[in-house]
Symmetry: C2
Subunit: 306 residues, 2 copies
């Protein structure tokens, strides 16, 4: 049997982390490199050096193309890759991909993000999630559906006929963090063994909300339920999490009753539990969606050239 | 003409500020004292000393009763005054008022806060605002209506036949502060001359929201509108303020089309502008509502004794 040949150096370079995978032509991961060198910790002019340090050993073994996606293409990144506008499929993304010439690594490809307008005409943006969505599509053979990429800024994207037609960002993860760390809500919270059903209570409270501003009221209940001993200190953080994630899912799914989650196992499980309580089936995407999306993008580029 | 006689030493003692007024029997303010000695800055056992320093000169001139309301009656205050439950009028509040015996000032009265259950059965609380609402009622002769006391934690209270029947807290002011100071939204904000119509744009965005979780999405637009140069850096803070205040007013007014605002002139004007855009008439309450509420409470106590 011939040794497996590297065919892609896949880089997912975000705000706070750097992840690289070396993959063969079947998408099997041959090696990996991870660090906390997200773009916030890399100074202008230092990006090439950080990339070389991470992948030069792989480069010596192979001429596999290097493809980067994520916040590395933002104004605060290495080179700004202008957003491609939705609706956008792999063809549009491939056409808007940037080539960066480097001394040590040759040409490096940089996938742009996407922009979309919401129903009110306000703009929204993503960087990196589009590549993961196209990876999930490539890996599963699907060409339609609703996708959620939860996190600091959760993205919900609708795919039709293989193209991302619209999406919306929800600040759920960042909200949770600032409220826990900087608001009065955090004062009633304690780390602890078991949170019981705090998360489920929060999701149920979200399901009862009717008007947008009621969220500003419901969040205060994280505190008052504690004042009246109806929520323990170790339950409060999970209650807040359930309230925010529940409100996000309820707003983002509307008519839809199912979506695919692209996230870590822990976060996927958290969303699955909340969705189940709200009548929305949230199922996990395959692993390594960024890698699969970049492979699909390379194939689309080759097709465009051919 | 006889010199005006002091008839009340009125103390509004909150989380971050201490305010005292010396008033005559007509509610005219004869003298005032203010400091930043809110309860967060006063250690256990030090409350009496702080009060004595502020009002002992007045006490030497008069035996006027001393009445305190606000967070001073909370678990983190001087003495915890258990909440009176809604519906509650002046009679219930007077009956639940606490007497604190002091060496230097004699008996000091402490007005309790109120608790209420929302439609989902979750508890809510206020301390100090109830006294201001009864003051507004006493001063205007009204016995029904909707009242808003905006701030860090805005309170919306419904009054029927002179009693507070229900209320809800909205974390609007605290939300604004933590998002501005600790989230990515603050990064795009700049202090500046003129914010143009940033506030109105935010209120209009709030009016377009339909589902509770959509607020988590709309807030992100504070950033993306800036990315696409549709909102200037000096407009962003006002946009965020308009979005939050607009969502609060829309949720809290529902069927109602009018409410009375108890707040500083600047905050009252901000709420009035947002309300006008949402079809809700918000009119200012008279000055010194805490003082007037405490006077009404004293009268109710005397009536109960008689």
């Amino acid at each position: 049997m011939a040794p497996t040949r590297p065919s892609l150096i896949s880089v997912d370079w975000g705000t706070s982390s750097f992840r690289a995978l070396l993959a063969d032509e079947n998408g099997a991961v041959l090696d990996r490199a991870e660090s906390n060198r997200g773009i916030l910790s890399v100074a202008v002019g230092e990006h090439e050096r950080v990339l070389v340090e991470a992948v030069c050993a792989w480069r010596e073994r192979s001429a596999a193309p290097i493809v980067m996606s994520g916040m590395i293409g933002s104004r605060q990144g290495w080179v700004e890759a202008p957003y491609a506008a939705c609706p956008a499929g792999l063809e549009e993304l491939a056409a808007a991909t940037i080539e960066i010439a480097t001394a040590a690594l040759g040409t490096v490809l940089l996938v742009p993000g996407l922009s979309a307008l919401d129903s009110s005409g306000a703009p929204d943006v993503m960087r990196g999630e589009e590549t993961q969505i196209f990876g999930a599509l490539a890996r599963t053979g699907a060409s339609d559906g609703l996708f959620v990429l939860p996190g600091t800024h959760s993205k919900w994207a609708r795919v039709e006929a293989g193209r991302i037609v619209s999406f919306a960002t929800y600040m759920t993860g960042e909200f949770f963090a600032v409220l826990k760390n900087h608001s009065i809500l955090g004062r009633g919270m304690a780390e602890g063994e078991e949170s019981g059903d705090g998360f489920e209570q929060g999701v149920d409270a979200a399901a009862r909300l009717r008007r947008p501003g009621e969220l500003l009221h419901a969040l205060f209940m994280t505190r008052t339920l504690g004042l009246f001993d109806r929520l323990g200190p170790t339950q409060a953080a999970d209650y807040l999490s359930g309230l925010l994630i529940g409100a996000e899912i309820a707003a983002a799914t509307q008519a839809a009753k199912a979506a695919t989650v692209v996230a870590s196992a822990g976060l996927t499980e958290r969303y699955r539990r909340a969705g189940a309580r709200l009548g929305v089936a949230l199922t996990p995407a395959p692993d390594h969606c960024a890698l699969w999306g970049q492979m699909a993008l390379l194939a689309a580029r080759q097709k465009a050239v051919a």
